[in-house]
């Protein structure tokens, strides 16, 4: 019915729809204004990369050696042997490896400190694109490490975080943000870090709160359906003659953007990203998914080993990190507190954590074996372990740690390239090196998952951005 509803949006909303659909474009414009783009000539002509070991995370598997032909920012051809077209700029990458641009399934780039802390509550339609700090200085650092696509997430303590978006990192030093997908996910939070310390009551209230949101949304939908029915009757009545008793035009219910978003989520149009840490919260998340038919994407959730069977039956995808350990957050000031040199120890920290830190803390009991995930076919994408924008920089290292935990290399590499692209729903453009996809690729000095190997060149849309 959503589509049916869109047809009768008010003029203003129409306008809004258009503008929003043009938003990515308008962002481009904004940036072409803010900071003049480099001459795109590089993107116009052919570029041929040859003699490199290519991890196309797609159909072609690993090509050794392989060739990639780039034209106008897109990949024209990938294969063992391509003869260079006339006037092609040929790069000989003997001894180098090439992987697709790394995709970070979550990050708080482009967000000011405040936005990171307090993204909106009570309004699921809070859109991260409206909170972006276009002048973020940390972006070039991240691109130079080979991360070319990020999901910007409204990270917050709030129960309802709002809408995230998938963004291609700038081809320029600053700015040039291209939005691949907006409304790419609705962030919910079943338990904030603090709640680990508190009673389970608080977790329960949070769960109920989210549930109420969805129940209200259902009510709202019913209301509209009733209205539409009445409306159609009324239209009928208007058509044929007026001898019947008068039928009044039905009252139009109040439109609510937030609820609209929730409805789209319930129609699986928008994936719901739920942050949950403890096993019981994860189960709650799954329950929500069943009740309202949501497309669940679980964030963090350190305790997945304990609920592996449940995860298997429920079709969810997992965003986690091998170095995540939420017990850190129990320390005063959290894991970073010491390094930041900013924390002041508070008494309550001592009270709680005394027992929490002792050996019988859940996540220490369950020894994680990440290869289990592969066994049960749960799509896993890696995310940065914390909310600092810069920690999206070393996605590759997180994959390395995954390898050290016993996951086969190629699987680990998938977890930072193709899988996140699929989970975010942008696999049509990024995440693997195949014909017709964006020419986002990273040239490394050695094996991709040997953390000693360095990033040499980074291409975004066929343009060199970072070069050592």
């Amino acid at each position: 019915m959503n589509s049916g509803q869109k047809t009768e949006r008010t003029g203003g909303q129409m306008k809004k729809v258009i503008v929003i659909s043009l938003r990515s474009l308008s962002l481009w414009i904004v940036f072409s204004l803010l900071l003049p783009l480099k001459p795109c000539s590089a993107a116009q002509e052919y570029i041929l990369l040859k003699n490199a070991k290519i991890y196309t995370m797609g159909s072609n598997g690993i090509l050794e050696p392989g060739m990639i032909l780039i034209k106008a920012g897109k990949i024209e051809n990938v294969g063992k042997n391509i003869d260079p077209p006339p006037g092609a700029q040929v790069l000989d990458l003997t001894g180098k490896t090439v992987i697709p641009g790394i995709v970070s399934a979550s990050s708080s780039l482009f967000l000011s400190e405040k936005d990171r802390a307090f993204a909106g509550d009570e309004n699921p339609d809070a859109d991260i694109l409206e909170g972006m700090n276009y002048f973020d200085e940390s972006v070039p650092d991240i691109v130079r490490q080979g991360v070319t696509t990020v999901y910007i997430s409204p990270v917050s303590f709030r129960t309802i975080g709002g809408l995230g978006a998938v963004v291609k990192l700038p081809a320029q030093e600053r700015g040039g943000v291209e939005v691949l997908k907006e409304k790419a996910g609705l962030r919910l939070k079943l338990e904030s870090m603090e709640n680990n310390k508190t009673s389970s009551l608080l977790r329960l209230t949070q769960y109920q709160r989210i549930r109420d949101f969805f129940l209200q949304a259902q009510e709202y939908r019913k209301e509209w359906q009733k209205y539409e029915k009445k409306q159609s009757e009324y239209q009928e009545f208007q058509k044929d003659g007026s001898d019947k008793p008068k039928l009044k035009e039905p009252e139009k219910p109040q439109r609510d953007e937030g609820k609209e978003i929730l409805l789209q989520a319930m129609d699986k149009k928008i994936p719901v990203r739920i942050e949950a840490h403890r096993a019981d919260s994860i189960l709650n998340a799954l329950r929500l998914g069943e009740e309202f038919g949501l497309r669940i994407v679980l964030e963090k959730c350190e305790d997945w080993p304990k609920v592996l069977p449940q995860l298997k039956v429920a079709s969810v995808s997992l965003l986690s990190n091998p170095v995540l350990d939420y017990r850190k957050s129990l320390l005063p000031g959290g894991a970073k507190g010491y390094a930041a040199g900013l924390l002041k120890a508070k008494d309550e920290d001592f009270f709680y954590s005394g027992k929490e830190l002792s050996g019988d803390s859940p996540s220490t009991k369950s020894t994680k074996n990440w290869s289990d995930l592969g066994a049960v076919k749960i799509p896993l994408a890696l995310i940065p372990p914390d909310n600092y924008p810069l920690s999206a920089r070393y996605m590759r290292y997180y994959a390395c740690v995954l390898v050290a935990q016993g996951v086969p290399e190629i699987e680990a590499l998938k977890a930072v390239t193709s899988t996140p692209a699929e989970i975010l729903g942008v696999s049509g453009r990024v995440g693997s090196l195949e014909e017709g996809k964006d020419a986002d690729l990273v040239v490394l000095t050695g094996e991709p998952l040997n953390s000693l190997s360095k990033v040499e060149i980074v291409f975004v849309n066929g343009m060199k951005v970072g070069e050592r």
């Binding site: 400190e113 070039p140 930041a340 900013l342 924390l343």
Partner: protein, 432 residues
Amino acid sequence: MIKKKSGPLSKMISVGFTIFCFLGPAVLADDLTALRVGTLHRGNGEVLKNALVLIRSGKVEFVGIDSPLPKGTNVLEFKEGVVTPGFIAANAYLSVSAETKIIEMDLREDYTSTKRDKLLALNEGRSEVTPELNALYSIDPRSEDFAKAWRSGVTCLYVAPGNLNVFNGTGTVLKAIGRTPQDMVVKKMVHLKVTFGHEPAYLSRGAGFDPRLYTRRPQNRMGVDFIFRNAFVKLQNKGPIPDSALDAQELILRKVLRSEIPLRIRARSYIDIKAALRAMDEFGFKWILEEGVDAYRYLDELKSRNIPVIYGPVYRPEGRFDFNAESDYYKAQTPLLLAKKGILFAFQNDNKSPISSLRDEAIFAVQLGLDKVTALKALTSYAARILGVEDRLGTIEKGKDGDLLIFNGDPLDPSSRLEKVIIGGKMLDPNR
């Protein structure tokens, strides 16, 4: 980020800072700087036209109309330029530490608790008598406020511990630029800072401190006054024992009584000024009145005992409730009155007006009738005399430090721009 890739060293904070300090025209290669300027205020009232200034190795070598120059010295011409000595902040309120510079704040921490107010952090809550403290080593020269200071012409400042104790500690005179605070020191143990009035008493009511664990004694003016006098009386009761037998605190207090170290009494309302005057008659120390909002009520007393006044801020927003204002009624005209009486005075800022607005304060005083010459003196030579560094700073004379400001017009005209700042012979651009 091509710039970023220019070798890791050049990116280092400290190195970057020092490099930046040494930036300047190539003339600095041999450390002789020669300036030919349109007008030169020496700081003691004298004005030279079309003057020549030579600065060698940080010291002024020659000031005058003309002197033989070594061959190949290229003279920097500032035809329209007006030169004054570097401004001196006789009392500087700064945040002395560069804040939140390590990693972004921890999201789990309370939003405000991570940003620490260094002004408060410079107050030692251990006791209300801590004369032995000095803030020198808790200073971070890379703090933004130092940059603001020299960029607005303040080349030298007086930094002391906070004012929440009765005896807060001794203050230090610093140059506004240096790699470490030790390098910046001009003079240590300049004044011993004492606070009268409600501030020491204010915090004892548990604001900031946890009353259960820790309370402080003074509850009101009387308490403050008692603690102040008690410290001296105790010392006097010890009798004429040698300095070696005294501990750090008592030693400093004795020096005060010997008037080797003058007291700097922060007294706003006339009650406190009166108390200070009485104490002076009793113990016979030298002292300086800081911030004296009510100074205009005691002009004669101040004059007869020749007590210098550090007054400020001159400008206080009208009709606004000012928490620090203990005095019910202040006279923006006070500088003028002090000048008329011939009392030595200087300007200061406070936690409401940034250090960069020191010049604006002086301009405001001028607009209220203070003559420019005195105003400029108050910014330079008077301040130097109050701080006891007149042998090095305050005026442009042979043998003194080469701290100069070059304006493109009248230094006390807001529409004239500070073109160059010279500190210790190094020329810096304040507008970058």
